[in-house]
């Protein structure tokens, strides 16, 4: 779909590394160029024309986000990306919320950014991190979620879609359970928000994080959405300009209201404007259409890969455009270097989910992750290349 909007695709490449980052449409880059070339100015104060334009675009982006994922505009905080967003939740909120009696539930297929902050905070506070069991397909079942909850469970922090297996968690049902039991649900939306409908309110999410660059937007910008009552209790990690009402030499000070108080200093203005264009672009296409398109492509790819003898697929059934596989007996990186010879970009690795290896028993996989601009020709080219996999070492050595 819409390949003509993505200048990088003019280079005869197949780009299947969308889980890592996505290609940028001309519309996104143009909107950032326009800021840099036509109305550069800082935000917050706008007495002159270009500043007015910039302010409107920057603050207006909160409305765009709020429409896109169904939350209030004042619940939208701009961050540098998912990693920063999750760290703000952990060190700005959880640090003051959790005690050494509490338990936090994670899974082993979480990205590093949704495990390591917890490990570090647990070291400080002494709460317990528990991992909810995954099933035989390395997926998270509602039953296992329920089984893991105890009286001490205060937080469930999980990805909506994991970046290795691409399984889609039933956030709405988990959200209902959490609401009933007074558990905070922290959702890593890095791999879901760009690809499928995420409804912050309807799913009963308490905190939601995502990154601009994984949804056709620029690097350096992301979003943290938090339920307003919780944001009232969250502390900023950064203090400075743009986020205070006053401060005096008697050490008194007052912070600005939410969400501005969480955005100290000059933010990534161009990037927020780019994110705005990226979201509007996705809305024009329709997020449900994107998901449907990816699922069609996934089925097409899995059907073809299954016909190649020596390929093992780890997540045939997951409901997202992510496929993890290996060519038997070949290290994942050798396969990805091999595919690069055909100008096919895939990713080899553990995809920052280092604990998942305990579960799958293999550390590294080749990952194909799709987006709206991929098509069946891309897949045919991948499959043709993989059919030649006996040649891998002749090509890569």
């Amino acid at each position: 779909m819409h390949r003509e909007d993505f200048p990088m695709l003019e280079n005869d490449i197949v780009y299947f590394d969308n889980g890592a980052t996505t290609l940028k449409s001309k519309r996104v880059v143009d909107s950032m160029d326009k800021y840099y070339l036509e109305h550069t100015s800082n935000i917050h104060r706008g007495d002159y024309d270009s500043a007015v334009i910039t302010n409107e675009l920057y603050d207006g982006t909160r409305d765009v986000v709020s429409h896109f994922i169904n939350c209030d505009s004042r619940e939208v905080i701009f961050t540098s990306g998912t990693t920063m967003s999750i760290n703000m939740v952990v060190f700005g909120f959880m640090k003051y919320y959790l005690t050494d009696k509490d338990e936090v539930l994670l899974t082993k297929s979480e990205h590093a950014s949704n495990i390591l902050p917890w490990i570090v905070l647990a070291e400080e506070i002494g709460f317990k991190i528990k991992y909810i069991d995954l099933d035989d397909n390395y997926e998270l079942t509602l039953d296992n979620v329920k089984k893991s909850i105890t009286d001490k469970t205060k937080v469930i922090s999980i990805a909506h879609v994991t970046n290795v297996i691409g399984d889609v968690r039933d956030i709405k049902s988990i959200g209902e359970i959490c609401k009933k039991k007074n558990i905070i649900l922290n959702v890593d939306g890095a791999q879901s928000v760009p690809h499928m409908k995420v409804d912050f309110k309807d799913m009963n999410i308490d905190f939601l994080s995502f990154s601009g660059h994984k949804m056709g937007g620029p690097t350096g910008v992301g979003v943290l959405v938090g339920r307003y009552e919780l944001l009232e209790k969250m502390k900023p990690l950064c203090y400075g300009g743009g986020m205070n009402n006053y401060f005096e030499d008697d050490n008194s000070y007052e912070l600005k209201e939410i969400p501005t108080r969480f955005e100290a200093g000059t933010p990534a203005i161009a990037e927020v404007i780019g994110l705005r264009s990226a979201i509007l672009y996705l809305e024009d296409i329709g997020i449900d259409n994107i998901h449907k398109h990816e699922m069609e492509l996934k089925k097409y790819l899995v059907d073809k890969l299954e016909k190649i003898d020596n390929i093992t697929i780890y997540n045939k059934n997951s409901n997202s455009g992510i496929i993890a596989f290996n060519v038997d007996g070949v290290f994942a990186q050798d396969t990805s270097v091999f595919l690069n010879h055909y100008k096919i970009a895939v990713r080899a690795g553990n995809h920052c989910a280092k604990e998942l290896k305990d579960v799958i028993g293999i550390k590294n996989t080749v990952r194909v992750s799709m987006y709206l601009y991929n098509n069946k020709e891309d897949i045919d080219r991948l499959v043709e290349a993989l059919k030649n996999n006996k040649e891998i070492f002749n090509v890569v050595l």
């Binding site: 290290f331 994942a332 990186q333 050798d334 270097v337 690069n340 080899a348 690795g349 553990n350 550390k363 590294n364 070492f393 002749n394 890569v396 050595l397």
Partner: protein, 143 residues
């Protein structure tokens, strides 16, 4: 060197590497290499006695280039004096990084003389030399 021969040597060392498998022994220096730019993850251990490398072993998950290079590198270094090892490492790293080097001292390691044509594989080829370098560094600290 003929390309087919080069490939055969590398592949053979990948599929049947020498000195693979770690042992429990505290008299060895140990290091893990887990490079930023690639997903290779190998552990190395090396025993030095009287200024001579008595043994080097490695294990872990890694690609064809770094596994084979570890096999050839360990084989090339065992039995060498520490000064000789240092000389080999310097020349090897120079070769990979397209600087002047002395191919005479490198022996079998010369099979990687064309890796520089694939910049994304340089770190794979360098991995065992970085590991041995680190362990030699530790040796220096102990003195």
């Amino acid at each position: 060197m003929d390309n087919n021969l080069r490939r055969e040597i590398i592949l053979d060392n990948y599929q049947n590497p020498d000195n693979r498998g770690l042992i429990e022994d505290d008299s060895y220096l140990k290091v893990n290499t887990n490079s930023e730019s690639c997903i290779d993850n190998l552990d190395f251990m090396m025993k030095i006695e009287d200024g001579v490398v008595k043994d080097i072993r490695f294990d872990g998950e890694a690609c064809a280039i770094s596994t084979s290079a570890s096999s050839i590198m360990t084989r090339s270094l065992i039995g060498k004096k520490v000064e000789e090892v240092r000389e080999i490492l310097v020349n090897y790293q120079n070769m990979i990084n397209e600087k002047d080097y002395d191919s005479e001292v490198l022996g079998e390691l010369n099979v990687y003389d064309e890796i520089c044509k694939q910049p994304n594989r340089k770190n794979c080829a360098l991995l065992p030399s970085v590991a041995v370098d680190k362990m030699l560094g530790e040796l220096g600290n102990e003195k």
